[in-house]
């Protein structure tokens, strides 16, 4: 258990801040946590590692006072505590930065940092004091912006820093970060990890959740592994990567990127001279049968906008899209689908799924029209299709009637994929298909991509996960500032080569 920590990271010799003993949390029909224990010391980064649905988020919500555990206890500073509300947790110095930010978009950075407790004089908000206090909190996280800036004008990375500043201004001694790096670029991740290292030196205890094993290696001291709601054990962060994966999924994953490459066939999707002012300019590319074309670039390079426009979800001003030589009408999703395009959008909760509807209903969204005769839906056919999709894609769900909201991220993403596969598209546009998806489900999604291309379909893959783009693409196109800046075959592509292209003309104009 308590193996000696590596030298370059601070050993967890600080006082124990938090201990979790045999935590159990049940929901109707599921045991989300089946007994998890771990402890956190001052000056330690303790990583929680597990597949989606392993219980990490439930565990965090128990610590944040959102859920109350059914069994077990939480011990803070040696005293058992009951956390009935988030305020209880905050009062004990536990701050949580959730995946979804809790910022109020219309308010300024300062108002967000001091939300609910602005400095007051005679009951009136003291703006000078507020800006001063917020400025100090921002300085601690190395954010040099005017505290008067509206928070929604900031990028994701800076919003995250605002969240951390807010947590620190609450005098948090225990900082819980739930997948803080999921939406950040490499550069921004570096900054965040540096800040975490600083906080650790200052004696803060950090609980860190991430799917990126590299980050975990860089910042973590100890790792507690969760599988199916049960704590498998706590190991040193020096544990070899393969061993971590094996502990996490309960089996070894042969290859992380099991791409099976085939010789590409005829041209399927052709995008020529596509432009949308402000988003992308003069983009031409081809996706052939049996091919995965990767689209790499920094966040904001225009990749998502390009995919959405090509699919007909957004407008474009010039250029054309054609499939197998037949032009596809612009800005019309239904024509695009009819022509044989499908889009797995970047934000599955906001754009891909009807969260409150069942697995079966979500799986039938695209094929609904095809299963309709004279306005009447052939429900038996849709149900058969849903059963088939659940089996084919290995969607782990108690039933096809289960509400999609209750599935884990990876299984939700498989539902989005399944919805498209039932419509049998010729080319599937994938936007960040494995974001927030655990290692096991990632590989299953890669296998699906393989099956698609093996059957002569084409895939256009947008991903900010460079190893994924490298591992799965047959050709890689790099976008920067809305333009295509280079093309690499999978043999010549490396992370460095891609990044060199992606940042070439951007470097000077980018702030944080």
């Amino acid at each position: 258990m308590n193996e000696p920590a590596r030298e370059k990271t601070s050993p967890h010799t600080g006082v124990e801040l938090l201990r979790v003993e045999g935590l159990v949390k049940r929901f109707p029909g599921v045991t989300a946590l089946g007994g998890v224990s771990f402890d956190l010391h001052a000056g330690e980064v303790h990583v929680l590692l597990g597949e989606n649905g392993a219980g990490k988020s439930t565990l965090i919500k128990c610590l944040a006072g959102v859920y109350q555990p059914d069994e077990g206890q939480v011990v803070v500073d040696g005293h058992p505590v009951t956390l009935n509300t988030t305020r209880d947790a905050e009062a004990l110095g536990i701050a949580t930065i959730h995946q979804e930010f809790n910022l109020v978009p219309g308010l300024s950075v300062a108002e967000n940092v001091l939300l609910g407790r602005p400095p007051r004089r005679f009951g009136i908000v003291d703006r000078q004091a507020m800006y001063a206090q917020a400025g100090a909190a921002l300085a601690r996280v190395g954010l040099t912006i005017d505290p008067r800036t509206p928070v929604d004008t900031l990028g994701v990375a800076r919003q995250q820093l605002v969240e951390i500043a807010k947590a620190l201004s609450l005098d948090a001694r225990i900082l819980i970060l739930d997948e803080p790096t999921a939406t950040l670029t490499d550069d921004e991740v570096d900054r965040l990890l540096a800040l975490m290292t600083e906080l650790r030196s200052a004696g803060v205890g950090l609980v860190f959740i991430s799917h990126h094993l590299e980050e975990i290696k860089r910042i973590g001291d100890r790792i507690t592994i969760l599988r199916d709601g049960v704590g498998i054990g706590t190991v040193s962060a020096a544990t070899p990567r393969d061993e971590l994966v094996r502990l996490m999924v309960g089996r070894a994953i042969a290859s992380q990127y099991p791409r099976v490459r085939t010789a590409p066939g005829e041209d399927l999707l052709q995008i020529s001279g596509l432009s949308s002012p402000g988003s992308f300019e003069d983009i031409s590319l081809t996706v052939r049968a049996g091919e995965v074309v990767g689209l790499a670039g920094l966040v904001g390079a225009g990749r998502t906008e390009l995919l959405r426009a090509a699919f007909g979800a957004d407008r474009y001003t010039a250029g054309s899209v054609s499939l197998r030589g037949t032009p596809v009408a612009r800005h019309d999703v239904r024509t695009s689908i009819h022509a044989g395009l499908g889009l797995v959008p970047e934000d599955r909760k906001a754009q891909g799924l009807v969260l409150g509807a069942s697995v079966a209903e979500n799986l039938s969204l695209v094929s609904l029209r095809a299963a309709t005769r004279l306005g009447l839906v052939d429900r038996a056919r849709l149900e058969r299709g849903a059963h088939r999709a659940v089996a084919d894609l290995g969607i782990r769900t108690p039933s096809i009637r289960t509400t999609v909201r209750n599935l884990s991220g990876g299984n939700q993403q498989k539902v989005v994929m399944g919805k498209w596969l039932s419509a049998d598209p010729a080319v599937l546009l994938l936007d960040e298909p494995t974001r927030g998806v655990d290692v096991g489900a990632k590989v299953e999604i890669y296998q699906l991509i393989n099956e698609l291309t093996a059957s002569g379909r084409g895939v256009l893959l947008v991903s900010s996960d460079l190893p994924e783009v490298l591992g799965m693409s047959d050709r890689i196109l790099v976008m920067a500032h809305g333009r295509l800046v280079g093309e690499l075959t999978h043999e010549e592509a490396t992370q460095d080569a891609i990044m060199a292209l992606a940042v070439k003309e951007v470097e000077s104009s980018r702030a944080l």
């Binding site: 979800a313 754009q351 409150g356 509807a357 209903e361 609904l368």
Partner: protein
Amino acid sequence: MPSDAPPIRTSPRPGEQTNAQRLTERLRSAASRNGALGALLLLGAAMALLSPVFLSTQNLLNVGVQAAVIAILALGQTFVIISGGIDLSVGSVAALTAIVTGLMVADVGLPPLLAILLGLAAGLASGLVSGVLIAYGRLPAFIATLAMLSIARGLTLVLSGGVPVAQPAAVTWFGSSLWGWLPVPVLVMVALGLLAAFILNRTYTGRAIYAIGGNEEAARLSGINVGRQKLIIYGLAGTFSAVAGLVLAGRLASGQPQAAAGYELDAIAAVVIGGASLAGGQGRAFGTLVGALVLAVIRNGLNLLNVSSFWQQVVIGAVIALAVLSDTLRKRRN
């Protein structure tokens, strides 16, 4: 959960008793799934205890007649609310239909059946106008249908000159009883309830309504023509309102220009009591019917108990709050 345990056989004969048990069991599970049905059964039992008249066939049919207009309006409203919208114009559209139908016979001299079709067309057209404003003009449903509430009511007054319009026998038939006992309003209510359930469960539009209400962007990106479906949704609401207008005119035997004023709020209440969410994505035709019956049972029961109509409003408000509260509490527990 009691339903997990095997049923205990007290009687060796699996005859009527088990059927009765099965029925109570099914009712109980339905009532626990649907808060409105539980409330309706509870209210019914309470009224039966308090008033000997309540359970008489005549009175129960009365309740049905009293519920019918609101129920039909609410069924149309159900499509809209499940899709995440709201229709404030249903009462005005109902009144407009009655006036148009009456005038087409009385002033224009058209045959009554054709007049009824034109009345229904007026309802459909009102709904489609709201639908166009919402789907293609991108107006919020609240604003578009608020405008239609005013426009339809105004047209009703303009056309009628503010005075009641006589209705032909074909319309008063909607307020009559078949074979001297079965009220046509109840018949129409049940038939439209079945129709609404069929539309919601079996048709493309029905399934699209749930998808649009649950996540409009996901529905659009899945190839559902959200604009056209919204047109159909508001068209359906307008048409159902028109039928409600005919039933109301039939019961009153005339077209009143101020008829059904404020009914839109009762209709919305019935839908919400029936378990639909104003956020969209949830709701059922059966729930809406039960919701409308809950409102009617309260009114009827309080009348039987000689409670003043002023107090009835207070009680109805409280019941709306309680019904929805119990629903949200149950959902939170799950």
